[in-house]
Amino acid sequence: MKNSMNAEQLKNMFLSVAQKIVDSEDFLTEIDIKIGDGDHGIGMSVGFRNVLKELPKCQFTGAEDVFKMVGTILLDTMGGASGVLFGTMFISGIIKRPVSEEMKLSDFAEVFRKSLNALQQRGKAHIGDKTMIDAFEPAVIGLEESVCNGLSLVDGLNVAAIKAKEGMEYTKQVVAKFGRAKSYGEKAIGLQDAGATSVWIIFQEIADWSTGNLS
């Protein structure tokens, strides 16, 4: 059992994540139609379809480069709020980091904490605003706690996925403070946020891929 990932593994993992998002297009669309404008599924799937197309062509020297490439592809091709937000999720965490050959659980925790901070600076959303932050922040905390508790990479990533899912479920209980969903007020109760759902799908596939390929 491997307790870190190299660039090649990260690449394969993100290809697997990309495929999962592309497969979830309709599911995400349905969610965004109910309290958004219904384009979240298309946007995510456009972005990650480009990841599926471009990523295999790339040669990476360091683990950070994989994050950067995934983020840049999303940023350049998706558009919408989520283009910036999901671009930021992958790019901002590795800025100014020295290039590393392997990423350990603590690296995942550091990278995603940094991108969470950048995301909140951009989007100004907090827990309870019914955004992707509601899934992302718990996932990051889950990673950090797993590091403290000395969990393995695979176990830590699985904790993150569980926390992301809880966060996604939690978005059903709150009203939105941002974007189109805001105008729905109390009517948004019971409905889950599309961006938070995507965050969960991403962390879930990261965990599943790791469980399958590193255990």
Partner: protein, 334 residues
């Protein structure tokens, strides 16, 4: 409803291609980008607009004489990627600085703010103005939180004229911000629009009912009523606007009555008749009033009324003629 497209993935690109092939002398494509710019270049501050397609002529049709210099188009109802906006920024004259104008929607704001940072990194001075004219989306105290709708037509027009007058970026920004602060819009939706990709209705709207302040994608508005007479509808729209703007007899205004696509000029003129009567009754001075379709969500029923409060400075820029194939405002004043 039947929609005339080839494939949803291509529709914005093909719309742009069609527009450029029909008006090749006025505009050119921004390389590698779903975006366009004026061919006629001059050494002045440039305005770059952008946003999701689907409300044509907004965005593509706002590039023109006395209007914006370039534009980046996103997919239908989706903000364009920052990369596209950045490409437009590099393609237009940017030595005097670039003003970004877009509506205040999260996707647009996030992308334009990011582009502003990236442009600065590339040594291009730039500023953002996010238009917040929809009075139904936040209280007056929270005007900065309001979303942007048809009022962007007037803000772009005023800012475009300021650029043409050779003003500095800071001055153009000051004037665009003043225009924005003085611009307010209220709308009524009377029937659903249809997604051009699927032909599906964007929302459900029972026959015989209408909704004030509704979003173009069916976001709830602030007042849902039975369909009333045109005069009643005009009265409601104006009541909210006048309330919000607190206009008095000394105020001078420009008024834009903007149809959403399905609603005909016949109806818009009947509404306009009552709007003019209400303005006259309130003895507010009308510098200009006009009817057009400048912000049209895909075959939607309804209209918006935008009022811009003018001072002598805004008037100067408001009065400059603006022209593009889909945005013609030559004659000003009653």
């Amino acid at each position: 409803m039947n929609k005339l497209i080839n494939h949803p993935d291509d529709m914005v690109k093909e719309m742009l291609e069609g527009y450029l092939s029909i008006y090749p002398n006025q505009f050119e494509r921004v390389p590698n980008t779903i975006g366009l710019m004026k061919k006629n270049k001059s050494e002045q501050v440039s305005i770059v607009v952008g946003g999701g397609a689907g409300n044509e002529p907004w965005i593509m049709g706002y590039v023109g004489e006395g209007l914006a210099t370039g534009a980046a188009l996103g997919n239908v109802y989706t903000a364009p990627p920052s990369r596209a906006i950045l490409n437009v920024t590099h393609a237009v004259t940017n030595s005097k600085g670039v003003l970004y104008i877009c509506t205040n929607h999260m996707g647009d704001v996030l992308n334009f703010e990011l582009v502003r940072e990236l442009a600065e990194l590339d040594g291009i001075e730039s500023r953002c103005v996010f238009v917040t004219d929809d009075i139904s989306t936040a209280s007056l105290e929270q005007k900065a939180e309001r979303r942007g709708v048809a009022g962007i037509a007037l803000v772009v027009k005023v800012a475009g004229a300021a650029c043409d007058f050779g003003l500095s970026l800071e001055e153009v920004v000051r004037i665009a911000n003043k225009a924005k602060e003085n611009t307010n819009t209220f709308s009524v939706t009377t029937s659903a629009g249809y997604m051009p990709g699927s032909g599906r209705a964007m929302f459900e709207m029972p026959e015989g009912e209408i909704e004030y302040g509704m979003g173009f994608n069916g976001e709830p508005g602030i007042l849902h009523t039975k369909l009333g007479s045109a005069d009643e509808i005009a009265e409601t729209l104006m009541k909210y606007l006048l309330n919000d703007m607190k206009l008095t007899k000394t105020d001078e205004i420009a008024v834009m009555i903007n149809g959403f696509g399905f609603t005909s000029l016949l109806e818009l003129c009947i509404i306009g008749r009552k709007v003019k009567q209400i303005i006259n009754t309130n003895k507010i001075q009308t510098h200009d009033i006009f009817i057009d379709q400048l912000f049209c969500p895909q075959g939607t029923g309804g209209l918006s009324i935008t009022i811009m409060k003018l001072d002598s400075e805004l008037k100067k820029y408001y009065d400059a003629p603006a022209y593009s194939p889909f945005f013609n405002k030559i004659a000003i004043g009653e």
